[in-house]
């Protein structure tokens, strides 16, 4: 049985937890009435299962007649459904102070994503397209060296997470801008690293493109809102 994906998830959850702790010590989630740890975990877990169910339906597998297959996350999830499901559940859980909660959780969510990508070290799936760079490495038994693309993504997401946390602490950004910057970072980093990934059908580039546009839109809207005040 294959449990390495659980290891990957555990690294993601650890990244999320450590960033929440770091943020909590700096009072960065002040004003938010929601328990961000609970809200984040509930949203991410729900999103993952929604994504799995959608992927099963897309593959022609009936989730009601094959319920045990829902837990076989490794068989594939619909990235679009995961993102939509996670955001919808989070919006519902944090509906009483949504923007505060979104700004509060954004850096930790990015660090969780960074951990999930770094979890490729547990699943053995860090490598992407062929590369001759000094740090490129081959699959076991192969002489073709490849980009460690998931490590690139993990580092970039980690740096973005810390940068957002520091901006929140010292920059006094307008409400909603941290959320916009986090969406922009997550989507932009995935979009930038996508050409270095190998996949059967290509990644959801449109989703990432939409994420970049939404992120920029949120930042602009929050800055405009602040200047009007």
């Amino acid at each position: 049985m294959e449990f390495s994906l659980l290891g990957s998830a555990a690294i993601g959850v650890f990244g999320f937890w450590i960033m929440l702790r770091w943020e909590a010590k700096r009072g960065n989630a002040a004003g938010c009435a929601v328990d961000l740890w609970d809200a984040g975990l509930v949203a991410a877990t729900s999103g993952l299962f929604i994504g799995r169910i959608v992927a099963m339906i897309q593959d022609g597998i009936n989730p009601l007649t094959n319920p045990l297959q829902i837990i076989l996350i490794r068989s594939g999830v619909s990235t679009v459904a995961v993102v939509a499901g996670t955001l919808t559940v989070f919006a519902y859980v944090a509906r009483r102070s949504l923007v505060d909660a979104a700004d509060g959780i954004a850096p930790a969510a990015l660090m969780g994503l960074a951990g999930w990508h770094a979890g490729c070290l547990a699943t053995g799936s860090c490598l992407g397209t062929e590369s001759s760079l000094a740090w490129a490495s081959p699959l076991p038994g192969s002489d073709i060296t490849r980009h460690p693309v998931e490590i690139y993504a993990a580092i970039a997401l980690g740096v973005a997470s810390i940068a957002l946390a520091l901006w929140k602490q010292y920059g006094r950004p307008p409400l909603g801008s941290i959320t916009g910057a986090a969406i922009l970072s997550a989507a932009g980093i995935r979009l930038a690293t996508e050409p270095m990934r190998i996949s059967l059908a290509g990644g959801p580039v449109l989703l990432y493109g939409a994420g970049v546009v939404i992120g920029i839109g949120l930042i602009v809207a929050s800055l405009v809102g602040k200047s009007r005040q």
Partner: protein, 159 residues
Amino acid sequence: MRRLITLLASLALVLAACSSSPSGPLPDPPTPTSYEELNTAITTDGEPTVLNVWASWCLPCRSEAPLLAQATRSHPDVRFIALNVRDTERNAQEFMAEFYSTADMVHLSDRSGRIPIDMGATSGVPITFFFSSNGELVNMHLGIIDEPTLARFLDEIDR
């Protein structure tokens, strides 16, 4: 709350109606083979080959089958062999009709389940072997295979 329960119940009914069981005539049963025959085919035909070992009773095999069917379409230069083990003919046919009706695959069977063990794997399923065009075993994946791993191993042999 009542509205939510009604909505969920309606959704469940719609999903239940979307049966994934095969309809129409069943495909031919997989052809029985031996380790020697299979090994000769892989080493002499000069094509990169993916050999997937499956059984209809195996839940992860059922789960990864759509991915393999997709791979047959995205990698037409690779030969895909589906080796059914320790299964009944009827169940294997139903599985093939459900998942591999549009996939370009060679279907073989090994009722004893000895072939994967002779190839250096375990008796468990699913197992996926990746052979280069000269018949060399490049990778072997035990258990359910995910899309990035499958794509990466295919990239190793399909060049």
